[in-house]
Symmetry: C3
Subunit: 422 residues, 3 copies
């Protein structure tokens, strides 16, 4: 069979467009065109044997099942590649698929089962900005799938200090590891990493840009809590309170929420820290009603979810730009006054527990409605799901599960035990 | 069977008190009482299914053997939890049990055998204060049991810099990993970690507080060396010399030594650096005689063990507080003059080998009595034992041992070879 | 059999000299002599049982095959130990053996196969000087053989800050791990590590000293590229350009090149940054002609390899010592003007991609002749080979290979795809 016929069969049988196929094979459009060209034409170049065999095997393997189901990683692909850079890569169906896979991960994340499906794989955990929580969460998620982790941390990444470009750094590390998580203080920098590599890159937070795994675990938490409470996300009332201007997590979360229907979204923030107009517009679709509130009472009343954010002091240009008013401080008193018995209280963490911090109060620590640790726990199955999807092992995870043999506590802490009595 | 009957059976059959049982199940006393309450009473709450099944399986599994042997981790438990925070958790029997388990670990620590018993488990190695030696020792010990390690190092733990409480940090990380080692500059901080988590927490040194794994490996070394020399610890003469005021390791070691009988303990220190009175009193029991000496000659003469400590310069408030006199500098000349041929010389390391440091001299490096590296080597089997005990795998380690297939040197260094000719 | 006869048999049968045998057993010459001494003599000491058994088993195992092939690690040994400290440990034959083993590693390095041959082993990756690239390359190479990695990074290695000697640090860490990579800013410091340990130590760069694994991967790249182009290294023309005075990598590479024959080596550098005379003399043997050029045109014309170096600004005592002239800036224009279609362009990386940096230009990024990423990719199989050789598993790696089950891209980046069309 000629290389042109083989390429055509690949496109016809599995619904690839030329652009997707090029990305899938890791070549640019010009090269793909040269493979498609008549072997008599001057534009023609022969396709390497490795690629020919790769496509042949792909067709053979996937033809058996009659119809090829495009893997989830291709449905959410970014410029045809298996990266996770933005929440905008998802639609409602692909979100639900991610969450089904996260559900499969729960017995592993809860240390009942062991998986070794990624044994031999290496994660490059590149943190150009400190974020211990996120780094450890991704790292342990990868370990729980059986893989190994190589960390780099700190602003002093040595090569970049010597003037190395992101392109070079990314391409070099891509030659070492199988998948990368990148956190970087500059918006758009992680996309630059992605451009240099066909190895999957996960955006672990690019400054004021995106942090998609956080938004996914937030939404996963809401859906999990609602499932326990027999509530539906469509039609629910979600209140976001605090610094909505600089809070990256609420920007991403609201984009994901906009995929659902008939939501009531209340945005409660001090003057000067309001949610940007563009994101409000983004969310106002599918019958969702977004209302900007300056009254905490009005914003919180009847909410199914209260999502409080941290004041991102480090992102302000001047610390005197505003005074965060204690009115916006979420505590036991306000929750009891304005909310219901089954309202869920969330926070992306870390929260500032110093006296006078105006962050989410510790006086809710023994309140079952406080879901912040269930939320951070959910980071593990969600990030395991992301790894499994991008590396294409989501369908074989179940194959090599074993029981954990060490003793583990029934609950991670006392507070969790209390929760189970809800 | 009712939940009340099940709980009662658990207590009757295995000797749990209510307090222990609550801790064992990870709930507080109030909740346990509500499970015990009559189902007609207003205090009654139903026990979650997970807990019911957990207890049923526990009873079934342990009833087969006729009598349930409380695992070592329960005997040494801290407030009913599987933490290792202090040497005061041990009595003489439990120490001996720990050392028997450490003995089982030696073939793995010496790289003759491979164990994978903790495959799938993740250690959170949290070092808020730099201590490369301790961090690597715990990390490699966990690796040698087959587990994976996630390290965090440095004072700049990002979340805490943002005002996060120890409670939040501990609870979040406990949701990621299976066991934590915590080193922190503040006394009592590691206990705070432990309060927030039912996951085992190991104190890797909390400032001037405790460092129990160091004391255990010190005692293990003494017992190992004595076993080679056909000596018994009961009745031995142990000399501790140097900075006994700030030296955390000698404080913990002397507490463990106090579990043994008829010891002669000589405390030799410069004026101003004497052992605190309270610790001296603690050690003066079981017929042990603790004597404070200002003469090095008198303190060292006839000693079976000379334990020299590092001058903890970084713990002094002012560097001019005292002049450490060279009289207290342990070197070949003093050892030859005052000690025996089978006196063992120990040091917690690191030692300051700079000229004029007054720390343990390098002129003993080729002296077989110098046990400092055998001592640091012992950190591996002792820490492996601690991990195995706290995670309850001490009885299954032997099951999956394999031979090491790579080539390893007969001795780690020349000095070790010399030692074997003793 | 007496211990003297056993030792003699070991020497006779396998060609050990006394010096090698002592090192092999990890004892010094004096002790070996005492084992050889007549049991009636006063110098005699009995050989420990462990050593007797070790030698007996060695003889039995290796006698079966009729003749014992000294393992590669013994052929390249450093003072009889299995360290890799310098390129001077290699001759042409041992280089070729290393490369054959690296070839075996390629399917693992390219993520087609998984090896677990070093499962249970621990690498101590000690970086006293930042070098993320080198650290991650060694770390992932070890992971790909199934081992675990313990990293320490930064100048603030805590024990050494407290005055600990290299001897103590090395001996202590050698008690924890199975093999060490050490990078240190001071020339000769890694040899000091090696002296304290029989555990293999790999020099990961000792300041202005050596960085042997970089030189090996450079030469491996040249040989691989030449093999693709049907060229032979003997007789080739290699141009080294840039800072040849401080560039450690070119010093080591030129030493390895000197093992080959009839090379034409052009050294092109600005005034003040010339290659040291001693290295030029070293390389001028085997019919190799080394010519110092100040004309870029003359130095590059007809070159099979152009090896550009980074300007090591951090090694200059004063930043005003010289002005690096843009004449020596390698870019597309110069390569097209002076070089051939199959000239290979190399660089040790990182390169300074800032505007005006005068480092290797990014305008060659889509030029197939640019081999810099193929070069850094080669670090993995070469470093895997080094680990396998020093730990003596090079002959059993093939035994436990499995197929990778996760999806991986056909090419690491677009640029690699283009390359395959050469």
């Amino acid at each position: 069979m000629s290389q042109q016929m083989l390429l055509q069969e690949m496109m016809d049988k599995f619904g690839f467009k030329k652009e997707n196929l090029a990305a899938y094979l890791g070549v640019n459009g010009k090269i793909l065109n040269s493979w498609f060209a008549s072997s008599l034409s001057t534009e023609y170049t022969p396709m390497p044997n490795g690629v020919f065999n790769y496509i042949s095997e792909f067709i053979e393997k996937n033809s058996l099942s009659g119809v090829y189901n495009l893997p989830l990683r291709n449905k959410i692909s970014f410029f045809g590649k298996n990266h996770l850079l933005s929440v905008e890569q998802f639609d409602r169906d692909s979100i639900e698929e991610v969450f089904s896979i996260a559900d499969l991960m729960v017995p592993i994340a809860r240390r009942k089962k062991i998986s070794r499906v990624l044994e031999g794989a290496v994660l490059g955990n590149l943190f150009f900005e400190a974020s211990t929580r996120t780094r450890v969460s991704f790292g342990t998620a990868f370990c729980r799938l059986g893989g190994s982790v190589c960390d780099t941390t700190g602003f002093t990444f040595s090569s970049m200090a010597k003037g190395e470009s992101i392109y070079d750094t990314s391409r070099v590390i891509a030659g070492y590891v199988d998948i990368m998580v990148v956190r970087h203080p500059d918006r758009g920098s992680v996309s630059e990493f992605a451009r240099a590599s066909n190895i999957p890159i996960i955006n672990g937070g690019d400054g004021p840009g995106e942090h998609p795994s956080q938004a996914l675990l937030d939404l996963y938490t809401i859906k999990n809590e609602f499932s326990r409470l027999n509530k539906s996300l469509d039609g629910a009332h979600i209140s976001l309170i605090g610094d909505l201007k600089y809070g990256r997590t609420v920007h991403s979360l609201i984009k994901l929420l906009s995929l659902y229907k008939n939501l009531k979204i209340s945005l409660v923030s001090p003057i000067g820290l309001e949610m940007p107009e563009s994101i409000i517009n983004y969310a106002s679709r599918n019958g969702n009603i977004v209302s900007v509130e300056s009254s905490v009472k009005k914003g919180l009343s009847g909410a199914d979810v209260v999502y409080a954010t941290r004041v991102q002091k480090e992102r302000f240009e001047s610390e005197f730009e505003f005074r965060y008013e204690s009115d916006f401080h979420i505590n036991s008193e306000k929750i009891n006054a304005f909310c219901n018995k089954d309202t869920i209280i969330m926070h992306p963490l870390p929260r500032d527990s110093n006296v006078g911090s105006n962050d989410l109060s510790t006086d809710l620590n023994n309140d079952d409605r406080l879901a912040i640790f269930r939320q951070s726990d959910n980071g593990i199955p969600v990030r395991m799901a992301i790894f499994a999807i991008l590396l294409g092992v989501e369908n074989i995870v179940h194959r090599n599960l074993r029981d954990v043999e060490w003793s583990r506590p029934v609950y991670i802490s006392f507070a969790d035990a209390a929760f189970h009595n809800l």
